[in-house]
């Protein structure tokens, strides 16, 4: 029953969104250069975001789940921060830190805003907590029993992590990656604030949709549906493949 209500809560708004879409104009929008560019930037930046989350977040999650260091509470608190920041504020924080005249940014030899790397940075900042929390949960679920066995077999921490901890936590890592990817797909507040919104460089689909919302809601809705169908299709395909492979 609750599951059914849950599904209904998800289905009804989506269904109306689909019903409300002006289907006839869809092909036109698909073909337009602005949309194609935005799609490309969204795909690329979300992919890079997942890579960034996996590379930065996995060790972080492991640290939080396994190593009992001083200040673990503080680090965990820090990880949660971007989670509770309204995205626009997250963008402001990024600007203050890494913008052209930001505290750190002004000393950098290159400039991050208005570039794709800015988009990826903003996305990673916003998505990292999702990834870390999901993976930390998965790492805790299994406990350390098999890590201990691996250690007695001569595996150092890294080997044990790579060959035992990681594969056992794989469902959690996949879930975390999916979360991070999806978060990155829908993100626009931090992106627009930090990386800006220029077609062909930093304009992602959500930014385009948001801008369109101000002028032509119907177009915005069509574009949302497009983003939605594509991303859900990718997620479902990947999951089925992973589920089968395991």
């Amino acid at each position: 029953m609750p599951a059914a209500i849950g599904v209904a809560l998800l289905v009804v708004p989506l269904a109306t969104l689909v019903l409300d879409t002006p289907w006839r104009t869809l092909p036109d929008h698909l073909g337009s250069e602005v949309v194609r560019e935005a799609l490309g930037i969204t795909a690329l930046s979300s992919l890079l975001t997942v890579v960034g989350c996996v590379v930065l977040g996995t060790p972080l999650a492991w640290l939080l789940a396994r190593v009992d260091f001083r200040g673990r509470g503080v680090v965990r608190a820090l990880v949660l921060v971007p989670l509770v920041l309204p995205p626009v504020v997250a963008g402001v924080a990024l600007v203050t830190a890494l913008g052209r005249s930001g505290l750190v940014g002004q000393h950098l030899p290159f400039s991050i805003p208005y570039t794709l790397s800015g988009v990826v940075l903003a996305h990673t900042f916003v998505s990292l907590p999702f990834y870390v929390l999901a993976v930390e949960g998965a790492l805790r679920t299994h406990g350390t029993a098999y890590d201990v066995v691996a250690a007695t077999l001569g595996a150092d921490r890294w080997t044990a992590f790579r060959r035992v901890t990681l594969p056992l936590a794989l469902p959690g890592i996949l879930a975390g990656s999916a979360l991070a990817w999806a978060r990155s797909l829908g993100e626009f507040g931090a992106t627009i604030t930090f990386a800006g919104n220029y077609p062909g460089t930093t304009q992602t689909m959500p930014s385009l949709i948001y801008v369109a919302l101000n002028s032509d809601p119907a177009v915005a809705r069509t574009l949302s549906l497009l983003l939605l169908v594509l991303s859900v299709a990718v997620l479902v395909l990947l999951r089925e493949r992973w589920a089968v492979a395991r």
Binding site: V95, S101, Q203, V211, N214, D216
Partner: protein
């Protein structure tokens, strides 16, 4: 009226009216004891759509004509809308003017990063017209979603220049420097704010709403608007 009963007048207002309307609300409350004015801020489009959807509200004030037309088409208005203030687009730079801009024409320098509102936002439409008027051809570094984002870029030094409303430039005063335009009075630089009472079944509230609209269009209000940098109010 002077009833004991507390009544609330809900005003849906474009976010750029935040300060002026808060001040006007206080004035209105003083003139109408027992009435509390609640200002609900949001983007003009969202507010208009919500008004059409039947969101609680007695007055709608938008930053452009398009949004108000949206509300009118949705039969949300009790009366035709009136213009009550105008705003002008202006070119601002950070206080130290790092790119050394002298005029609008300097925006065409390849080394200058300037930002504007997206063409779909009210301020973006005005900005596009102004840029054409000034003959600027270089593309901006970013098309921000709204004027506040443009202003933030400039204040923070993230952009060398940006096109904002004069009210915004006035609000931050020392944090930006304005670059004068070629023709002060060209209409291409201006946008108009509209206000209308919303349809409802409570006659007493409709009266209050009408009184609020009157206040917004009064000379007392004009002073407040002018101080905030609005101008060129179109009176019938």
């Amino acid at each position: 009226g002077g009833d004991d009963e507390e009544r609330t007048l809900t005003v849906l207002a474009a976010a750029s009216l935040s300060e002026t309307f808060t001040e006007l609300a206080a004035v209105f409350e003083e003139e109408h004891p027992g009435v509390e004015v609640e200002v609900v801020l949001g983007s003009s489009t969202t507010l208009a759509e919500q008004a059409v959807d039947g969101a609680p509200g007695d007055v709608l004030a938008t930053a452009d004509e398009t949004s108000m037309a949206l509300a009118e088409d949705g039969n949300a208005l009790a009366q035709a809308a009136d213009a009550f203030a105008s705003n002008r687009i202006t070119l601002v730079t950070p206080p130290d003017n790092p790119a050394g801009l002298q005029s609008w024409a300097d925006l065409d320098d390849p080394g200058v990063d300037y930002v504007v509102c997206a063409a779909t936002a009210p301020c973006g439409a005005v900005a596009a017209a102004a840029l054409t008027e000034e003959g600027v051809t270089a593309a901006p570094a970013s098309e921000e979603v709204d004027v506040k984002a443009v202003l933030a870029r400039v204040v923070q030094g993230e952009a060398d220049a940006g096109l904002v409303y004069r009210t915004d430039a006035v609000a931050v005063d020392d944090d930006v420097e304005q670059i004068p335009v070629t023709d002060e009075d060209a209409s291409a630089y201006a946008t108009t704010y509209f206000i209308a009472p919303l349809a409802g079944d409570d006659a007493e509230r409709a009266d209050l709403a009408a009184e609020f609209v009157t206040l917004v269009r009064s000379d007392e209000a004009l002073e407040i608007f002018t101080e905030a940098g609005f101008g060129g109010i179109v009176r019938e």
